[in-house]
């Protein structure tokens, strides 16, 4: 860990200004990922702008009938929020499938979007990693890549995005609100995270110095028919090998609207609108679900140790859609073990 200075901001504009005035500055919220990265010498900020005093912790209705999640509301407070539980139970389930209670109590919503990959090579400075050190190579390609991407990877990087919460946000088509040196703007969730391409060092499309201030959920929450299914190596405190956020709007047995997003398979939350289109207007049957699943994994490529993820993802999509159609999942106050 390198020496750094610290300041604490009480207003968004001050935070942005403070950040811009320090070369190599970083924002810090809950610090649940950044501190680890600093201890491992993966992140070496020279200045930290503390955000926890910013007035961004509220969860409030939007004029459009949706819900605005403050960037500094904790993951725990968001999951337990009555409106989230009632209207967006998919988000409740996804958040509770991630990390541990202790981490969720510290981790913020904005920070959740910005957590870095858990690729072993990214964390170990003794190995090459194009994301950590552009141009140094990729240790995971040809190495141990059981947890790596099967969709949208590049020759430079096969890392995956680790969040559970973001998979639900992708399925719900949230909007990210940001503030930066050039003012405020909004980014559709789908456009927030990036595929690695030739610039794997960039996880997302934030401009330098931009700060996430909130997340807007649209009015439609798919509160009746949804499923968050997470497959992993142990029942808690493990990142997804494959996770699926499935949400359906049903008219009788016919699918009116559908959302499908996957975690653990790509450099970003992987929402597949083509697969969603294959579901819309179709009967909610195993055959329909299988067609959508086949579409998602159509372009999947294994790296060796992670080849199994392709079949696992296909099966998980079918199961998640089936659970969503049955309406068998509910928001939980206590995280009941819903692991398959």
């Amino acid at each position: 860990m390198n020496p750094f200075t610290y300041s604490s901001a009480t207003a968004v504009e001050d935070a942005v200004r403070d950040n811009a005035s320090h070369e190599g500055a970083a924002y810090i919220g809950g610090g649940t990922n950044l501190l680890d990265l600093m201890k491992e010498n993966v992140a070496r900020p020279t200045h930290l702008v503390g955000l926890n005093k910013l007035p961004l912790t509220s969860i409030e209705p939007t004029p459009e009938g949706g819900l605005r999640l403050g960037a500094l509301a904790t993951n725990a407070d968001t999951a337990w929020n009555e409106e989230v539980k009632r209207r967006y139970p998919l988000l409740n389930q996804a958040i509770l499938a991630g990390a541990s209670p202790q981490l969720r109590n510290m981790a913020t919503n904005g920070g959740n979007l910005l957590q870095r990959t858990r690729c072993y090579y990214f964390y170990d400075t003794a190995t090459p990693c194009n994301k950590r050190e552009p141009g140094s190579g990729c240790g995971a390609i040809g190495g141990f890549n059981r947890i790596h991407a099967i969709l949208g990877a590049s020759e430079q990087c096969i890392a995956t995005h680790p969040s559970d919460m973001c998979i639900a946000l992708a399925a719900l088509a949230a909007t990210v609100r940001v503030s930066g040196p050039r003012g405020e703007r909004t980014i559709p969730f789908e456009d927030f995270h990036r595929l690695p391409g030739t610039t794997p060092e960039r996880d997302n499309n934030l401009e330098p110095g931009e700060l996430i201030t909130g997340l807007d959920l649209p009015a439609k929450g798919f509160e009746k028919n949804f499923s968050y299914l997470k497959l992993r190596d142990r029942n808690s405190y493990a990142f997804a090998l494959v996770s699926v956020a499935a949400a359906l709007e049903l008219d009788g047995d016919t699918i009116k609207d559908a959302r499908l997003a996957l975690g653990g398979v790509a450099h970003k939350p992987w929402r597949d609108q083509e697969a969603e289109n294959l579901l819309k207007g179709q009967p909610a049957t195993p055959e329909t679900f299988a067609r959508a699943a086949a579409k998602v994994v159509e372009s999947a490529v294994g790296q060796g140790s992670n080849n199994f993820k392709i079949e696992l993802a296909r099966r998980a999509i079918v199961r998640a859609l089936k659970q969503a159609a049955e309406g068998s999942q509910h928001a939980s106050d206590v995280f009941l073990n819903s692991n398959p």
């Binding site: 860990m1 390198n2 020496p3 010498n41 541990s100 858990r118 072993y120 090579y121 964390y123 170990d124 400075t125 003794a126 190995t127 240790g139 040809g142 190495g143 141990f144 059981r146 497959l231 190596d233 142990r234 029942n235 808690s236 405190y237 493990a238 090998l241 199994f308 079949e311 696992l312 099966r315 998980a316 199961r319 073990n337 692991n339 398959p340």
Partner: protein
């Protein structure tokens, strides 16, 4: 009625309050004045040479005191024997910072010492090291054909016995035959507490060393031999340990480096390792096993062959007993056991809970399950048909063996009769249900140990021994033994341990502490008792006059005649009447070789497991475990149960999660943290039951105890593997059973 019978009674940990309130102080927590902090720099390559350590850049940072590396380490002991600790395997022990040679990845290659921990950490992160890399080999698959039989292994290792009968012919002619390979990868102990040492400089080369270790005496011997210190000037202390599991049997490089820096800088120094560095030393070795079984038409074993090959370092020949158990657990006239090592560019493996047996019992007990299925015999019935009434390896009777009762009592309590023998025949919704069982055997060992006891006039008893409590409950059971032997209330007894100023005891390992130190504590308390009796007999009008030690008992704070309990003397009155302020004595207990030499002494167990496996995803849930254990006398059912519970959780871990993954491109373990080296969390653990089968044994030691630190782990991974087969019809022979192996 006696109120001072404690042995066999569930007793809460006497050290529990200190641990949960934070009063217990661990090695890296001791506050000493003028402390400097060392941070270890680890090699980024697996093999090669260090061509330059750019110390000068780091030394320029204000507050950095020194950079130790092979370039400036002073001349230390010359011979290998000085570096050999009490439990070192054969070969040349690793000498930290000794030379420019790099022999394994994450090898400690420098120590940066600074005024603060943060500064030492930062300085170490910018210390540039130049390497000359050489080609490494870390993959045992590449050394399959280069296995060799080890020479002299470490103490406790036995080469496999020579073949008996005609194992090849018997296998060829058997009714049912199988041959399979069974594999598990490297596993690291990962105790919660990281290794660390606080070395207090007391002036003039006098040190007090607070170290995380399972044996303070071993560390003292090691340090004094290397650094030329007298034992009086090198006191080693460890009162509490946040888990050991074998990782603390050998002195760790953290204590070597802290002592080196302290002696050179002439001030107190602390060195603690990081979680990543906890993957830089000993581990359960990656092991390839080959088992061949053949049975006769009546379901008895016709032939049994078991061969193991595991990794060791380039510099030491680590050995553990992997295959020997297979010649002992079942009756078979045609047996061939083989054991080989392969040298890789890794650090020397290290005993890890039930070393060798956890590995061997996995292969043997899965093979037995496979054979039972092939022969169409119930797995328990198959084991009972092949029950060993004597130890055929040694040609000796067992001192006691209630394994049959483990099978029967365990099966009854588990509900084994509910098992449909057909694989894939039981299910709950999306989940396939399976029952599996397996068992194991472990040594019951007693080693020489000593203890000291002091009884003061206020009736307080202090007993001490330089043993360790690695979380097993040593403090508690020794307090129970001492209190019962002298008939004192538990509250009047204090047991202390973990200090080289105390009478010598062996490292805590091998499940031998209860037997070894327990016998010493009993012996020293009996010696105090004899002194007390003599003083009591001198009291005016003593009702005990003329009584021999056999004729009295120590109960309820009194010495009384066995035949006439009303004739009693209060222990506190004895000392006060005598005018003595205290009675003090020490004593050691040694194994009775005459008695023990004619027997084979072992603990046994049988494990029953229920799993549920998602049919489409292959996710395995261990929903029920019952572990029936026959381990002699159980001193404290509460702490003993905790030992077995911990073993079961570890067995679940071994079966489903644990593996240190080596990237052979870099010769480096990649999942070296708690996030990616998976062990179970609460959500993975469901119903667990521990059943102690009553077992009397007057051969093993005066207490009749066999130890419970390791036996509980045996058979757990195999039972889970067998249950997964029963649930799914898929036989997995390489651990851990990741879901992808069942897709």
């Amino acid at each position: 009625m006696s109120t001072t019978n404690y042995i066999g009674k569930p007793t809460s940990r006497v050290d529990g309050p200190a641990k949960v309130t934070g009063a217990a102080t661990y090695a890296a927590e001791f506050q000493v004045p003028n402390l400097a902090y060392g941070w270890v720099v680890s090699s980024a390559i697996a093999k090669g040479r260090i061509t330059k350590v750019h110390s000068e850049e780091v030394l320029a940072i204000p507050g950095v005191l020194e950079v130790f590396s092979h370039e400036n380490v002073p001349s230390l002991a010359w011979f290998d024997r000085n570096y050999k600790d009490d439990v070192a395997p054969g070969g040349s022990p690793f000498r930290p910072l000794h030379e420019d040679k790099i022999q394994f990845n994450q090898q400690p290659i420098a120590l940066v010492v600074a005024e603060t921990l943060e500064l030492a950490r930062y300085a170490s992160s910018v210390l540039r090291i130049d390497y000359e890399e050489e080609k490494h080999e870390t993959d045992i698959e590449a050394k399959r054909d280069e296995g060799f039989e080890p020479g002299n292994g470490k103490s406790g290792w036995m080469p496999p016995p020579p073949p008996r009968g005609n194992p090849d012919k018997a296998w060829e002619e058997a009714e049912h035959r199988l041959e399979h390979e069974y594999v598990h990868g490297a596993q690291h102990h990962n105790p919660m507490e990281m290794f660390g040492a606080t070395v207090e400089w007391r002036g003039d080369k006098k040190l007090t060393v607070y170290d995380k270790t399972q044996g303070v005496v071993n560390v003292q011997n090691y340090l004094t031999k290397i650094f030329g210190l007298s034992k009086d000037d090198c006191r080693v202390i460890n009162h509490y340990m946040g888990g050991g599991f074998g990782s603390g049997l050998r002195p760790q490089y953290s204590v070597f480096l802290a002592v080196l820096a302290s002696l050179e800088l002439k001030r107190s120094v602390r060195v603690t390792l990081t979680r990543q560095q906890m993957f830089s030393f000993g581990h359960r070795p990656h092991t390839l096993q080959y088992v061949k079984l053949g049975t006769n038409p009546d379901g008895t074993l016709a032939a049994l062959q078991h061969h193991a090959l595991h990794e060791t370092s380039q510099f030491e020949e680590y050995t553990e007993n992997v295959v020997n158990w297979s010649g002992m657990l079942y009756q078979c006239e045609n047996v061939k056991l083989g054991y080989q090592l392969a040298k890789l560019d890794v650090f020397t493996p290290q005993d890890m809970r039930a070393p060798g047996a956890a590995t061997g019992s996995f292969a043997l007990e899965v093979a037995m399950d496979e054979m039972a299925a092939a022969a169409g015999i119930d797995p328990i019935d198959f084991r009972i048909r092949n029950y060993a009434e004597e130890d055929q390896n040694a040609g000796k009777p067992f001192s006691s063996k209630r394994l049959r009762d483990c099978y029967h009592q365990g099966a009854a309590k588990f509900g084994w009769d509910q098992r449909n023998p057909q694989p894939r025949s039981m299910r709950k919704g999306n989940r396939l249900v399976g029952y599996g069982m397996a068992g194991g055997v472990w040594d019951a060992t007693q080693k020489k140990a000593a203890a000291k006891a002091t009884l003061t006039a206020d009736g307080q008893l202090l007993v001490s021994s330089a043993t360790a409590d690695i979380g097993t409950g040593t403090y508690t059971i020794m307090t129970q033994i001492a209190a019962e032997t002298l008939g004192l209330p538990l509250e009047a007894v204090t047991f202390k341990l973990g200090d080289t100023d105390m009478p010598e005891a062996p490292v805590q390992g091998g499940s031998w502490t209860a037997a070894s130190v327990g016998s010493a504590v009993k012996s020293v308390c009996e010696a105090i008792g004899e002194k007390l009796l003599k003083l009591a007999q001198k009291m005016e009008g003593s009702p005990l006059k003329g009584a021999s030690p056999d004729e009295v008992e120590f109960v309820n704070g009194q010495i009384r005649l066995r035949q006439d309990p009303d004739n009693a003397v209060v222990i506190r009155d004895v000392l006060q009447a005598s005018g003595e302020t205290k009675l003090e004595t020490d004593s050691s207990a040694t194994p009775n070789m005459l008695k023990q030499g004619t027997h084979s002494m072992h603990s046994h167990n049988a494990v029953f497991v229920e799993v549920e496996v998602d049919e489409e995803f292959g996710t395995v849930h261990v929903t029920r475990v019952l572990n029936a254990v026959a381990a002699g006398r159980i001193l404290n059912p509460k702490t003993a149960r905790s030992q077995v519970l911990g073993s079961i959780v570890w067995g679940i871990s071994m079966a489903l999660m644990e593996e240190t993954i080596m990237d052979h491109q870099f010769g480096r373990y990649m999942n070296h943290n708690y996030s990616e080296y998976h062990i179970p969390v609460q959500a993975d653990i469901h119903d667990i039951e521990v059943l102690f089968v009553e077992e009397e044994d007057d051969v093993v030691n005066p207490l009749g105890v066999k130890g419970v630190g390791e036996i509980g782990l045996l058979g757990v991974a195999a039972a889970i593997t067998n249950a997964v087969y029963h649930a799914t019809g898929k036989r997995v022979r390489d651990l851990p059973i990741y879901l992808d192996k069942l897709l």
